[in-house]
């Protein structure tokens, strides 16, 4: 893979584009994404099914994310941080 390979285009600073797009995996059906929300201590998790949730403990986060489809009801994330513990 060279720098000229389009799969190797790094994301821009702060660009939320997922790394997998650079690697030709955009069709991945099982891609879980976690963004550390800038300026906060919170983690925003997005399941491939569209379900989203916020956490402040990465262990609880992976339990939820990799537990798909348990508790995954795709819906917009609430404005205020959701309590993490409820979703274990």
């Amino acid at each position: 893979m060279t720098a000229a390979d389009p799969r190797h285009r790094p994301m821009a600073a702060g660009d939320p584009e997922p790394a997998h797009r650079r690697h030709g995996l955009s069709a991945a059906r099982t891609l879980h994404r976690v963004h550390w929300m800038p300026g906060t201590d919170r983690l925003h998790a997005i399941c491939f099914c569209g379900a989203e949730n916020e956490f402040d403990d990465p262990v609880v986060l992976w339990d939820w994310l990799l537990g798909h489809p348990d508790d995954h009801h795709p819906q917009p994330v609430p404005d205020s941080p959701a309590p993490a513990a409820v979703l274990v």
Binding site: P6, P10, A13, H20, R22, L25, V34, P58
Partner: protein, 353 residues
């Protein structure tokens, strides 16, 4: 819990290609003693490193190669590259069961990969690290033995926040620990991605001295971990204000360093830490090569020292110790989950932490 089980039926890096030659090389991989050598026509072969007779290691002198065959240094049992015993001292009959187990081998990207497991690899190929043997890049590399379980090295590499503390003065600057990360897991492909993009960061000596950049930099770290064995760190460094990569993927205004680690479990508490650093600049500059080789080896040894200490601590601790995880561990925790799944570890309670 740090993953302790081995994932079998997987490709593992056994050696760099340049390490395998007309001298036997012995490596222990997933607790299996493996003998590596090259036949006269250049094929790398891998087989069990224990003579079937009295178990003498075929990698140990006075065992030796004669043509493509290896002769046991104890009583002379002789084996072909297919592992079949062809001669036994002082008798005509070679017992039918006298054969060594052989391992599938793939030589790719400057690594010799072996398949450790019970089933055959079929069409499964090792993941790629093409820069290590590709024109347009210059690579330096090495291997450091680690007296710690491989899971500690996986943890270490998936969380680069430690650069700021353990590798200050080499690759660490304050921004590394301060910048949030994005983590992705592709369960189907079995890959963990961790990205940290610093828009305006100090340039650590590792990059300042190799690239010649004087001021502050944009510094991108994009990790791709292909469990169990291969870790890629795509590192992009450019002076602040340099143009971003073009839409077609070219990126002429930045320096690129591809840092590669092969994490090969040897025994339950020892690991082979293969490392390589490929760069797309100063290709023929020996001084830059020497500097990067020495600096990266120093950085690797800083990790080795820390992880060896950690292994001692963990070995003395009860199994059920509850460690604490925070946001910087998001990628490492994901890697542990994939590894545990590959190792077939049943999901016990508490979940793998």
């Amino acid at each position: 819990m740090i993953v302790a089980e081995f994932a079998r039926d997987q490709w593992y890096v056994a050696a760099f290609s340049h390490e395998v030659g007309r001298r036997q090389l012995g490596r222990t991989i997933l607790d299996e003693p493996v003998l590596l050598y090259r036949t006269e026509d250049g094929q790398a072969v891998a087989m069990a490193d224990r003579c079937v007779h009295r178990r003498f290691p075929l990698s140990e002198s006075p065992s030796h190669l004669v043509g493509d065959k290896v002769v046991c240094g104890y009583h002379g049992f002789t084996y072909g590259p297919d592992g079949v015993c062809v001669a036994v001292p002082a008798q005509q009959r070679v017992p039918r069961t006298a054969r060594l187990r052989t391992y599938p081998v793939v030589e790719q990207d400057s690594f010799v990969w072996v398949w450790i497991g019970d089933r055959e690899p079929g069409g499964t190929l090792p993941p790629r690290a093409p820069w290590l043997a590709q024109s347009g890049y210059t690579t330096v590399c090495g291997m450091e033995p680690l007296n710690a379980r491989y899971g500690l090295l996986v943890d270490n590499l998936l969380d680069l926040s430690h650069e700021t503390y353990l590798h200050g003065g080499y690759i660490g600057t304050p921004e590394v620990a301060e910048t949030p990360i994005t983590t992705e897991v592709d369960e189907e492909a079995g890959v963990v991605y961790v990205s940290r993009h610093m828009a305006d960061a100090a340039c650590p000596p590792f990059y300042a001295e190799s690239t010649g950049i004087k001021g502050r930099i944009t510094r991108w770290q994009d990790i791709e971990y292909h469990p169990p064995c291969l870790y890629l760190l795509h590192s992009r460094v450019a002076p602040v204000g340099s143009p971003l990569p073009a839409a077609d993927g070219t990126d002429p205004h930045a320096f690129h360093v591809e840092v590669v680690y092969a994490i090969t479990p040897s025994t339950g508490n020892t690991t082979y830490d293969f490392w390589a650093v490929a760069r797309d600049f100063a290709l023929d500059d020996e001084k830059v090569s020497d500097f990067l080789r020495e600096s990266n080896r120093t950085v690797v040894l800083q990790d080795v020292t820390a992880l060896n200490t950690l292994e001692q601590v963990l070995a003395r601790e009860p199994d059920r110790y509850q460690e604490l995880s925070v946001n910087i561990d998001t990628g490492g925790l994901a890697a542990r989950r994939l590894l545990a799944k590959m190792a077939g570890t049943p999901r016990t309670e508490p979940a793998v932490r």
